[in-house]
């Protein structure tokens, strides 16, 4: 091995060591931010109405307009709701997620899941709440996580946790075939969901170059590469087209 080789090997070894020795990053305090908007182009698809006559208690909660399927929700400003945006890769191997603070709540209200798309950390409690007081079953159909299927015939809350990162774990109710939710299980807190204005924000990122993925239940996933340093804010916009 030549001199250059030795230097290179030592360099790699030192870098590796440096990587190992880097202290755990702080929780989502300070750090960089990635934010953006999820646009939608093309004709807004008409979502089918949901017939809730079988559940008068749920049906009664929709006085203004009948409920429609939530697979595609296009906002008034032409953006797309319910897109899960998360850091897919780029975090150092040493990154340790902060201890999850409190449970994430999934509410069943009006025979719908609230939220429809959301994220959780590995090991963090998911509190599944039945506000309807009628029978729901909650089935998680992950493939990397063990599934579960809980019965909730009354107003009650059940807790479950997830052991492995998985984007996404489908959740569904079989009593009400229209009830679907999507849960992204991640080993870090760098995720967000586009809201009613189509925007998302991921805060507290350590400096680095990240692959950010935007996932939609009907339109699939898109990625963007974003490099951030210090406490700067970078913009990453996504755009999904009607199919």
């Amino acid at each position: 091995m030549g001199k250059l080789g030795v230097v290179a090997a030592t360099g790699v070894a030192m870098l590796t060591l440096a990587g190992w020795m880097r202290p755990p990053l702080p929780a989502a305090q300070g750090g960089a931010t990635i934010s953006g908007k999820v646009k939608f182009t093309g004709a807004k698809p008409a979502m089918p109405k949901i017939d809730m006559s079988e559940e008068p208690k749920c049906k009664a909660k929709y006085t203004a307009a009948p409920p429609t399927d939530e697979a595609v929700v296009v906002n008034a400003n032409g953006t797309l709701d319910n897109v899960f945006v998360y850091v897919k890769s780029g975090l150092p191997a040493s990154y340790k997620a902060p201890a999850p603070a409190g449970p994430v709540t999934l509410d069943q209200d009006g025979c719908r899941y609230h939220p429809h798309v959301f994220g959780i950390l590995v090991g963090q409690a998911l509190a599944i709440k039945n506000s309807d007081g009628i029978l729901h079953n909650i089935k998680a159909k992950g493939t990397k996580n063990r599934p579960f299927n809980i019965s909730q015939p009354t107003t009650m809350t059940s807790e479950r946790t997830f052991t492995a990162p998985e984007v996404m774990v489908p959740l569904e109710c079989n009593v009400h075939g229209w009830m679907h939710a999507w849960l992204g299980v991640l080993p870090h807190p760098f995720f967000s969901v586009s809201g009613s204005d189509g925007s998302f924000t991921i805060k507290g990122l350590p400096p680095g170059t990240y692959t950010v993925e935007a996932w939609h239940e009907k339109y699939g996933a898109q990625t963007a590469t974003v490099t951030v340093a210090g406490s700067e804010t970078k913009t990453a916009d996504f755009s999904f087209a009607a199919k």
Binding site: N149, S151, V175
Partner: protein, 521 residues
Amino acid sequence: MIGALLGLGIVLRFPLPPSLFPMQDTTRGKTVYVKWCAGCHGDGGAGDGPAAAHMLPRPRNFTGALYKIRTTASGQLPTDADLMRAIDEGLPGTAMPAWKGRLSDGERRDVVAYIKTFSSFFADTSQHVAALKFSSEPGGATGAAALDTGRQFYDSIGCRKCHGDQGRGDGPSAPTLKDDAGFPIFAADLHQSWRFRGGGSAADIYHRLRTGLDGTPMPWFSDLIDQKFLTDEQLWRLAQYVRSLSPPEAPEVRDVIHAPQITRTVPASPDDSVWGRVSRYWFPLVGQVVRKARWFAPAVTGVWVQAVHDGHTLALRVSWDDRTQSPDSAWLGFEQRVLETVAGDDSAPPKAEPWPDQLAVQFPRHIPDGMERPYFLMGSETDPVYQWRWTSRPRKSVAGLARGIERFDTLSGAPAGQASFDHGEWRLVFTRALATPDTANEVQLEAGRAIPVAFFGWDGSSGEHGSRMAVSTWYFLALDRPTPPGVFISPVLAMLVTLGLGLVVVRRARRRGTAGAGRRR
């Protein structure tokens, strides 16, 4: 090193009884698997073997390690004993047979080890696998109070949403149900406990309520005990109630339907009280797989048959479980999914259509003298069969000659047919004169003869129409003759004669004895 390994082996092996540490061999298990299991479950264990495409439910996909019949919590892996049970006893109501007796203990243990290799979950030591602690069945299972409690929880935990008000799998959510692989799945018909996958006893039902059936819409109910929504005993009562919906024993198939002769006019209505007093006979039906288009997923799994006659007319009552009064638009989507799942003969699956429900009763045209009967599958061109056919829409009954599946020629004389549908059950009564003018084509129903009879069923909402149907083999109908008075009188006469003769003998003997004694004195 080798010595250390051997030492470890000895330490591990010998202190433990073999039952706790069975020497399972995945290589041997693979040999067994390839020979006996792969045809349905596929070489890679994905439930996609060559035979799988016709099956509903589909063979288990081992790669996801999701199992219906377990003793563990919802989402937990099954224990080895759970897997062994499914292999040993099979899964009633599916294509999975019982392997105990066909494969040796060692072969079955090895195959359990091998199917576990299809999923990485089994190798993951962080997976918690422990059988739940089940209580034993409380007494009073069949008491009215116990069953009332059970029924109360049947309603309050929402069983009826899928299983229906009377438990025949016809609840409002039933037509939307899919399993985790996206295949259509029927909510179990709780009146056929002999078809329950995990066994039909109250204890089996209680275990399924506690664990749920993973990979299906059936959740577990253990959370509800923890949250004090119901007690463990109340869950037992629910299991006992569900058990009470089926006959105490799985129906035995008997060859001959006895039609007693009654003194009143035969009942034309399926809900006449006479039917409550007449024996019923169970005949299993299977999918028609002889002719194309074949059908491997028959929805009508059997019929209950009763018959009476009054010396002039026969009344034949057929009842069977059917989730829908077809055609039912709520089930069109389900029907389409069933057809897409199992109707792949050679051609593309047919489009779901609003087919009616149908039932056919088949006889030969003439009662045969010997055992020679027409071809069971609707006769043939040269040897047709005489059939009664009923459809739910239009609601009518006809008679005719079938010359194979494809050809049916209607005859002018039709039997009267009356049907009622109630919570997932059809009850249909055909009535026809024993003797008819058309003796060439219509079977003449003579008392005291063995009249061959067979049954065919179609559930329109499961996509059944034409050759996609459920069929039976030939059975017999026997119209009993009224018992002649002689049958009752002759034993009495015989007894009286015997008694009389006996008395004569005794008297004679006594007389002789007295005479002899007199002489001796």
